[in-house]
């Protein structure tokens, strides 16, 4: 091969006999130099600046607190102790830096024609190796502190576990050019190249993997108007509440003196004055409080959305790799091998759905993180955007002329609605019991008791409203509460039934469900690796079942819930004909072959 780079020998020589045979997670005690000699030059180190990046981050947090500590001690007259914090912090930083340096020196990685390998560990040496064809995704992230040094972290996702609890391999940190080169090279499925990252990045970009980058097609780009959807979540009030209770908690930590001091200095009312004001003008203050919560929630959520989705671009490169770029302070680039993008999820939480928005998530192999929450966060391919735009984007991602999301979905049997009504009835009964209990309490508790309760509440809550509300509520209020709970329960039941649906596209199967969060999932039929059909005693009585397709992608299993058993089996049988068909019987042969679930 005519590479200008001397670091990489030809493909054939790239696998040394020993370590390359050792599969993922295996302990390797031999020193890195113990491998076959021609390939040692190949091993790359992490960038030396990465140590300084970590030190700077730790220092930014440690040193100010050390200085504050010194000041506090000096003010408190403990001038001897005041000498401790700053040198202590510096010593700690130096120690951490030293450890990090050891880590840096112990870590080496290389990418050969067949596999990516990494050695790490100071005490317990680890050797991990991933065959290149198992690389499913490459995630390049550059937090602000790493970007200052021109560095980025690279996370390589595989479809299988390479170490304890993880199917990922992470490099902290390499240069931005190296990250970009790794991203292109690891997912490039053409002929393996011999271009190296370290010698001349410019040359590498002209190599074969680089050629793909020039023909990328843009699937989506940030429209700033989309940020208007960011606060459209049920969490908005909660986040506002969180922000405000955070402030109140801070005040409580100072023993309540914080606000007292501020109110003395600025002439603002004290906590006691405010709470009596609040209780006196109940009807005015409650809506104002809600408005305040809403506004602070909107500000926080919009800020988070801007940080996360700034500079958002979703592109498909010539070799089919889908690449996501986003982020203001932490810039993120995630690449998913096109073949491993087995479908998409149209994600519509309730409030967003009501405002006509949706976002798109990937159903892909190799995006699995430590837990479901992280997996979901990682598979987001778009910010909240208008629903029509989201559907177009989903269709583009699936490369189908007629979008699977336009497939008409079959409704589930009325029995599924009946099941939801049963649940709503249970909630209604519980709500009635709760309302009854509260009404009973109200009549039972005497004025003397109320005084004790109010005082107890005042101890814990800065704006004591809850018990006063209970005391002031008229007796018919409890009946209204019970009716309200019941109405919401039945409305939820109907909405959740309407959300159910399943359908088939020539290449994809589609399932939809959910009321609080409605997810429409499309999954490539060829990605289905099994079926799981379950039914509970309640479902059995109604002739319903959950029919789930298992897959290596995404959450691992996507179900048509509460589908008619026959209906669901017909759907599953048609979706992947050769798989379930041998185990299905049709017609009314009521022979002794009846399934044995009496």
């Amino acid at each position: 091969m005519s590479s200008p780079d001397e670091h990489r020998p030809e493909a054939g020589e790239n696998t040394p006999a020993g370590p390359a045979d050792a599969r993922g997670g295996q302990e390797e005690t031999a020193s890195p130099e113990g491998g076959a000699s021609p390939s040692t030059a190949d091993w790359q180190r992490l960038h030396p600046f990465s140590v300084w990046a970590s030190t700077v981050v730790a220092g930014v947090f440690l040193l100010p607190s050390a200085i504050v500590g010194t000041v506090v001690l000096v003010v408190a007259g403990q001038s001897l102790w005041a000498l401790a914090p700053v040198p202590g912090a510096l010593a700690f930083l130096a120690f951490m830096t030293y450890l990090d340096m050891l880590r840096l020196r112990a870590t080496r990685y290389r990418v050969t024609a067949e596999r990516m390998e990494m050695r790490s560990g100071i005490v317990a040496k680890a050797y991990r190796s991933i065959p290149r064809e198992r690389v499913r995704s490459v995630d390049v992230a550059a937090p602000l502190y790493a970007r200052i040094f021109g560095l980025c972290s690279v996370t390589v996702g595989t479809g299988e576990k390479v170490g304890p609890g993880s199917d990922q391999l992470q490099l902290l940190y390499v240069t931005a050019e190296q990250g970009e080169w790794l991203r292109r090279d690891l997912l490039y499925r053409g002929t393996p190249t011999a271009a190296g990252p370290s010698g001349a990045p410019g040359d590498a970009a002209d190599g074969e993997p680089g050629a793909g980058g020039d023909e990328e097609t843009e699937l989506a780009r940030l429209d700033r108007r989309w940020f208007a959807y960011a606060p459209a979540t049920t969490a908005t009030l909660g986040v506002g509440l969180g922000a405000i209770t955070g402030l109140l908690g801070l005040n409580a930590q100072t023993g309540g003196t914080g606000w007292d001091w501020i109110s003395e200095q600025t002439g603002l009312p004290s906590i006691a004055e405010m709470s009596s004001f609040v209780v006196a003008r109940f009807l005015l203050v409650v809506p104002l409080t809600l408005l305040g919560l809403l506004v602070s929630g909107v500000i926080v959520l919009t800020a988070v959305a801007v940080e996360t989705w700034w500079d958002y671009r979703l592109t498909r490169e010539a070799d089919g790799t889908v690449r996501l770029r986003r982020g203001l302070l932490t810039s993120v680039s995630l690449s998913v091998e096109g073949r491993r993008l087995n479908g998409v999820t149209l994600h519509e939480p309730f409030v967003l759905r009501r405002t006509g928005g949706a976002d798109v998530r990937a159903v892909a192999t190799g995006l699995a993180a430590a837990d479901d929450k992280k997996t979901n966060a990682k598979s987001r391919l778009s910010p909240a955007m208008p629903r029509q735009r989201a559907r177009e984007l989903a269709a583009d991602l699936m490369r189908t002329p007629d979008s699977p999301l336009d497939v008409p979905l079959a409704a589930h049997p009325r029995a599924a609605l009946r099941r939801r009504f049963t649940r709503a009835t249970v909630v209604t009964v519980l709500g009635a019991v709760l309302a009854g209990a509260l009404a009973w309490l109200q009549t039972m508790i005497s004025a003397a008791w109320w005084k004790v309760v109010h005082e107890a509440e005042r101890e814990f809550i800065p704006v004591p409203l809850a018990t006063s509300t209970v005391e002031a509520a008229p007796s018919w209020g409890w009946a209204v509460l019970a009716v309200l709970i019941s109405a919401v329960a039945f409305w939820y039941a109907v909405g959740s039934y309407r959300g159910l649906g399943h359908g088939l596209h020539p290449r994809y199967l589609v399932v939809r469900q959910g009321m609080a969060v409605r997810d429409t999932v499309t999954l490539e039929r060829s990605a289905v690796i099994g079926w799981r059909i379950t039914h509970s005693p309640f479902q059995r009585r109604l002739g319903l079942a959950d029919v789930a397709a298992t897959t290596a992608a995404g959450q691992g299993m996507y179900a048509a819930n509460d589908v008619g058993l026959g209906q669901g089996l017909a759907w599953a049988g048609e979706a992947v004909p050769e798989l379930l068909e041998p185990f299905l019987v049709r017609g009314d042969g009521h022979g002794g072959d009846e399934p044995s679930h009496g």
């Binding site: 379950t534 509970s536 959450q555 379930l580």
Partner: protein, 168 residues
Amino acid sequence: MDAMSADTPRLRPPRHRVDKRAVWWWTTRSLAVAAVLTAIPVVPAVIWEPPRFWLLLAAAVVGGFGLLITVVMPLWRYRVHRWEVTDTAVYTSSGWLWQEWRVAPMSRIQTVDTARGPLQRAFGLSSVTVTTASAAGPIEIAGLDHALATQVADQLTDTTQATPGDAT
């Protein structure tokens, strides 16, 4: 309930039942759990006088419930638990109140294991566990005769190795 038209498919049960000894295995297991749960309120009842009646009542309820499950569950399970291995797929049914059918194609099987706990060993039984790349969990055929389980696992391993693809 939807109308059972002539075209509505049904699942036929997998061909083979598990070993008859599995009934005794499940019975023993259930009895052991019931005995432990019943003993929890009995121990303080022996030591502590005042609430003795209520503790013994609780023990009686738990024990009665446990006995009921021990009588009903194993036979019910025996009727439901079935398995089948074809040239192309593994097909199982399991459970009793909550029932489950699983199908996995040979081409997507990653690993095949046999395992036997001390209790299963006492009855000469084994379980075969079949893993795919899905996070939905492995398929388990529990309560097979030990020799048969080994044979099934060998057959599965041979068939899987003969099938190309990386199972994802």
